[in-house]
Amino acid sequence: MKIGVTIFPGSNCDRDALHAVELMGAEPVELWHADPDLRGSDAVIVPGGFSYGDYLRPGAIARFVRVMGVLEEFARDGGPVLGVCNGFQVLCEAHLLPGALLQNTHMRFACDRVRVRVETTETPWTAVCEREEELTLPIAHNEGNYFADPETLARLEDDGRVVLRYLENPNGSANDIAGVCSEGRNVVGVMPHPERVSDPALGSEEGLKILRSVLAGATV
């Protein structure tokens, strides 16, 4: 299975994501922002970082680059896409996911480990987790405060589209939301970084559960 990782100018978790893809047993594929080509990827990760320096707003400029056109098509055709941190912000800006990520309410960058609960296993990126399973995942963001209007929030909750929920809210997110999925459930955005806990050498492999889920989906 080939898993593509988009590289925008200013992405800085791209290499980590590519490494994690290798650790999960898939073939990593670099997707350069200026090339409108997913190079045969079966799934795509939009990694964290500061695409275009977060100028204007996180993710606001990245959504217009050439690789995003083909990615949007891929996503609308049901292809599995995972946005992590800045990748989540990009997917929201591209309207592949609802809502927006605002500045943390305490107005500080937050780098920490947080406990989250897996709220649905019906996405390609949580398929091998247990429902209500608790994971400890790293966060590192300044704009992770999930926001959506009340109707959207209600719809997300009703449709079971909240994917991860914080046990202790680190940034002021509405409904403690740490991750959501698209209506088609194939596009998932999360603020925590599963790729940072995918290597036993660093003491935890909890993130691999999320990344490996997409492999399980592929074999169905």
Partner: protein, 752 residues
């Protein structure tokens, strides 16, 4: 303005101007004078410190590159090497803390990049005045934001560092940034320019008027007018730096560069003249080709501008197209601005004419000032400490909580929580331990880093303090289980033209050198920041040591946190040479900075640290912490808090300890060298005891140790004197450093 006013305004003395006349055999024009003024500043030319710096040992079996390049380089093994350096950005941070700190981080990253290494870790050593003053809170908050704002975006994790607060730094904060880069030994790049006719290519951002005369500014005392020099402070763009890093690494991978140099203090002038001088060639810079971000800039401004995120590369003519194409792919500027020439000059060409031309070696050869080292009188006054006159506290619970809560001893979580310390997925031990530990992907190997400074000790006893600073770093790496290899240092001192400042500088260097020799940890890179003085006086002499160590198997490492209920806890080290002189306790609880702290015995330090390291390497222990500021009880409390496991002191041992020291505060909070606390499961007791029975070459057992207690439960108990719950300790220790009463925590103020 007459000529004397002109060169004085540029920071040159009469004697220096005369020397320029003598060297050139003619009067320099304004452009040439500007080149001399920046290159002969203390910041670039080390004119007050060079003779003293030559005292540092620079050689060792693992050293691949010592001082003289952009960074030092040491060998790790398996073909891997580490490039590292620490540098100050004190003066810029004093007037514009966010940008000052941010560009300090950006600058040190480029130093590492210039060696061809990928920057993989940042550490920051910070000093501020006390937090009860608004100005100090502002500087602290903005410096931390600046470090985070730059480091987080550029994608290099900030994995460690230290911060200290003292009146001595009020108005003159210290902001020292260290970067460590990873490289294959065969890929090392030098900055030497070679090959007449080769092209000089400027990579990165456009050039503006920011940072004009920044190096000169950094080489003067801070005054009221320093605020008005705000325009001397450069503005950072981490996004541009990120692209510059990726582009340069790609250019090197494709083997397209002859040499590479960063642009830091004194801009193109410094980079080009250093590249030329070390290569024994000349460089012609066509100054009009330098891409500008503002119009109307004079040639001298373009030459000495300190605009950030730029690198200078020497490229063979046939590679020009490929280099410029790659720069475009990464969205950064790439412009041919000059050529390597046969003459030995740094020659500035404007409008087809020579606007200035100075032999590069003259610029690189700043005058040297050697001064007499005279012991200042204050040392006699501060060395006295009358322990009898010091009242003994009657509530040790209160004293311990007060110490844990003090800004100098409190948890640093509220700082490092603002730094991305995991990007890159190499961080094995996250901030908050004695040292940061990282792995090297694809190998079992790893490395550890620490930065340490002991300003108060250096003030009370410059030579002993210099040695103690190195010893502290050595202990910290040993606790993690890493083999210490080499150091970089940043020498933060006051005015060297004053007797006191020069003495402190000379003596600290002597103490550090002796320790480095005895530990076998040579100095491979460094930076000097003098003139750290304000109207309130000089800072504490504060050499900051950044030490790097290596692991053959990084999975075998230790941290201070207690990890299991029931672990035995023992103290290993020279028995109880305790002292309160110059201690944290004395300052925090009694408000005194006095006494002469014990001079570290480096031979003993080295032996004990090596023993602890061998325990970690053999997998005997995974819990170790050195007894440092705050003494044994504070160290135990830190181990309990970070592990979430309580501790009970052994009754008999406690009785012995107090009887020996005569008073509990001395035994609890007294400081000493070469003492380590380790913890391990009870069933390993025999194996550990065997290992502790180590003997010297004559078969004499030399290791002193005592069992001090047992980890477990949720209380922290030391006989009848201290009895607190872990949550009591945590409440004191984990307070937010930015949440000082009267300030809006996390509110609009924190955004600045």
């Amino acid at each position: 303005m007459n000529i004397q006013e002109t060169y004085s305004a540029l920071g040159l003395s009469d004697a220096e101007y005369d020397r320029i006349l003598e060297l050139l055999g003619r009067a320099p024009n304004f452009l040439e004078l500007s080149l001399f003024s920046v290159m002969w500043s203390e910041h670039c030319g080390y004119k007050n410190s060079r003779p003293l710096l030559s005292r540092f040992p620079n050689e060792g079996p693992r050293v691949l590159q010592g001082p003289g390049e952009n960074a030092g380089v040491v060998e790790v093994g398996d073909g891997w090497a580490l490039a590292f350096k620490v540098e100050s950005h004190n003066h810029p941070s004093a007037v514009e803390p966010y940008e000052g700190a941010a560009t300090g981080v950006g600058g040190i990253i480029r130093d590492i990049l210039a060696m061809g290494a990928r920057p993989v870790a940042l550490l920051d050593s910070l000093r501020f005045g006390p937090l009860d003053e608004e100005r100090n809170r502002y500087l602290f908050r903005e410096v931390v934001r600046g470090i985070g704002g730059y480091g987080n975006a550029v994608g290099v994790p900030t994995v460690g560092g230290e911060v200290e607060f003292s009146e001595a730094y009020s108005g003159n904060p210290l902001v020292n940034a260290m970067c460590v880069g990873l490289i294959r030994t065969e890929d090392l790049v030098r900055s030497r320019a070679t090959g007449e006719g080769n092209l000089v290519v400027l990579l990165g951002s456009k050039t503006g008027r920011d940072g004009i005369h920044g190096a000169t500014f950094a080489s003067d005392e801070l005054t009221e007018e320093s605020e008005s020099k705000r325009s001397n402070v450069q503005v950072g763009d981490p996004f541009a730096e990120k692209m510059l890093i990726e582009c340069c690494l790609k250019l090197l991978k494709e083997d397209l560069l002859v040499s590479l140099q960063d642009l830091g203090a004194a801009g193109i002038t410094s980079s080009a003249s250093e590249m030329a001088a070390s290569g024994g060639v000349g460089i012609d810079i066509e100054v009009d080709r330098i891409p500008r971000r503002e119009s109307g800039m004079e040639p001298f401004e373009a030459m000495i501008s300190e605009s950030q995120e730029r690198m200078l590369a020497v490229v063979e003519p046939e590679d020009e197209e490929k280099v410029l194409a790659l720069a475009e792919r990464y969205g950064i500027g790439g412009t041919v601005v000059g050529r390597v020439a046969g003459h030995g000059d740094l020659r500035v060409i404007s409008d087809g004419e020579i606007a200035g031309s100075v032999p590069a070696e003259y610029l690189a050869d700043a005058p040297v000032y050697e001064r007499e080292v005279i012991r200042p009188e204050y040392l006699d006054e501060v060395k006295r400490l009358d322990l009898e006159a010091l009242p003994e506290p009657d509530d040790y619970n209160e004293v311990l909580l007060k110490m844990l809560a003090h800004p100098n001893l409190r948890s640093r979580r509220s700082i490092f929580g603002q730094y991305d310390h995991e990007v890159g997925t190499n961080t094995v031990v996250r901030p908050g331990a004695d040292a940061a530990v990282m792995r090297i992907k694809g190998t079992k190997r790893g490395f550890a880093m620490t930065t340490d400074g002991r300003g108060r000790h250096c003030y009370l006893d410059p030579r002993g303090g210099g040695a103690a600073t190195v010893a502290e770093a050595y202990r910290n790496l040993s606790c993690a289980g890493a083999e210490p290899v080499a150091i970089t240092n940043c020498l933060n001192f006051g005015n060297p033209e004053k007797l006191e400042g020069y003495y402190q500088l000379a003596e600290c260097i002597e103490g550090m050198s002796e320790a480095c020799e005895a530990f076998g940890t040579p100095v491979v890179s460094g930076n000097v920041s003098l003139y750290n003085e304000t109207a309130r006086g000089s800072i504490y002499p504060t050499p900051v040591v950044g030490m790097v160590g290596v692991f053959e198997d990084v999975s075998r490492h230790a941290t201070p946190a207690f990890k299991r209920e029931g672990d035995a806890v023992i103290i290993v080290g020279e028995p109880r040479n305790l002292s309160l002189a110059g201690s944290e306790y004395l300052e925090v609880v009694h408000g005194k900075v006095t006494g002469r702290p014990p001079t570290p015995d480096i031979v003993t330090e080295r032996a004990y640290a090596g023993l602890i390291r061998s325990f970690v390497e053999r997998g005997l222990i995974d819990t170790a912490h050195d007894v440092s500021g705050g003494g044994e009880v504070l160290a135990l409390a830190e181990m309990a808090i970070s592990g979430g496991v309580g501790f009970t002191y052994d009754e008999d041992e406690l009785e012995f300890l107090i009887r020996h020291a005569r008073r509990p505060d001395l035994s609890f909070f007294g400081e000493e060298g070469a003492a380590f606390l380790i913890a391990f499961p009870e069933e390993r007791w025999d194996a550990v005891q065997d290992a502790l029975g180590a003997t010297d070459s004559r078969g004499v057992s030399w290791v002193a140790y005592d069992r001090v207690g047992c980890a477990g439960g949720d209380r922290f108990k030391i006989g009848d004197l201290v009895d607190l719950t872990l949550s009591d300790l945590r409440e004191a220790y984990e307070q937010d450093l930015f949440g000082i009463p009267g300030e809006v925590v996390g509110g609009a103020e924190a955004v600045g």
